[in-house]
Amino acid sequence: MIELSQIGFSYENTRALYDISTSFSPGELVGIIGPSGAGKTTLLRVLLGELTPTEGKIRNVNGEPLAIGYVPQIDAGERSFPLTIEEMVLLGAASYSAPQPWFSVREKRECRSILDRLGIYELRNNRLDELSGGQFQRALIARALMSRPNLVLLDEPTSGIDLKTLRQVLDLVEELRTEGYTVVLTTHDLNWVAAHLPRVVCLNRTIIADGAPAQVLTSDVVKETYGADVDVVFHGGKPVVVEAIGKGN
């Protein structure tokens, strides 16, 4: 279990996060929502260990050592790189693979089975810029899995993809959870989180609310998180936020 107690983080002159106390248990699937500038990426970078909290402590309590699989926000620069899908996914193994330029047969087999599972096996010899947004998203997830993680962090996996792909990403994320991975993702897409994730953390520099969507997503909480006037209605037992919120990006 990862436990954050009173975490704060300040960039040179921006206090991006303060008083964050929460925990993520093994096998949990958590969505972090909040408007632009809320500190979602900052929180992920703290979890990644890329940023050291300026306040508070982050601990890995009585669990196996943390191995993080990171699925970054899609970046155009990354996609113009002359790599094949299989090459990129294999790079997830770079830190534990033997000190030679090639990957072992076993690693290649592992990679192919991951590609197969994510439905991009046929595309393994394609270049990165020859994939659609959703296919590339899956390649990024494949690379994260190739690193043999127990915690998977996804930054905005729902941005810039169509409904059908969104559905596929969701299925995938749920599958990861059932396989025992801890999954934490950030998103702008409130309704997607509300409808599909068991737990949501509303973030705006600090935690506004944390829990099951049906409890957490009241119009008051959403207003406080986003600073926008919204209504929450229930549809098929799930909360739906109406009226466009935030600007997204």
């Binding site: 990171y70 970054p72 990129m88 010899n125 690379r143 690193s147």
Partner: protein
Amino acid sequence: MNYLTEPFQYDFFGRALIVTILIGALAGAIGPFVLVRRMAYIGQGMSQSILGGVALGVTYGLDLYFGAAVAAVVSAALIYFVRNQGLPIDTAIGIVASTLFAMGVAVVSSSRDRRLNSTNLLFGNVLGVETSDIILVVVVSAIAGVILFRFYKPLLAATHNYSVANAHGVKAQFMEIVFSALLAMVVVTALRTLGVLLVAATLLIPAATATLTFRSFAQITVASTALGVAFSIIGLFISFHRNIASGPAIVLVGASVFALNLFASGATLKKGLLQR
């Protein structure tokens, strides 16, 4: 056959050939990493920078390569320092490289030391290759080869996405040092045969040519290495027979092959790396 055998009547040619082949291979192998970092100017920057080190080193009675190596390290450190102040990397390279280059030119222009021949330093001189140069190049290439063999995967991972590699357990920061070290090795060893102004071309041209044809990074690296060697050999022969300086001959052979390839594959280049 005469065309191929005649040059070997001269001792210097065999020596020059060994050195050029090794440097061609080394620069060819590292070139793809330089290219994908969009740091095309780093090779240029580092090699220009070493002129300052060479000039000062020689003036104070030190070895040519010693001054060059120190300058390469200083140059890399300064470039990263300036960049970390928040300036774009090309600005950092430009400022550091031209300053150290200017220092070099200043010293060279006022010096009477024969070893500080500006033409040779700027454009290289194969006639000047001595046994000690060969030893140095062989040793340094071997070390660089081992480093590249050992760190190819983590280096590629960190080059592709620093944060992701870091998260997945690669020592990304250390890979920056590995990359700079490899680059410094090429730039310093190429000083004698290519001079400080033409090294960058040997880092970029084989790699760029390879990316026109090959799809995977592994193929590109292998092809780039082979092309680096081929350009060096062909260039050296042409240089001998046409009596032109070897550095420009090698670069022009590479540029011609690149241009032909570009022309042939022009239609498919639309989405390629070189477009942006």
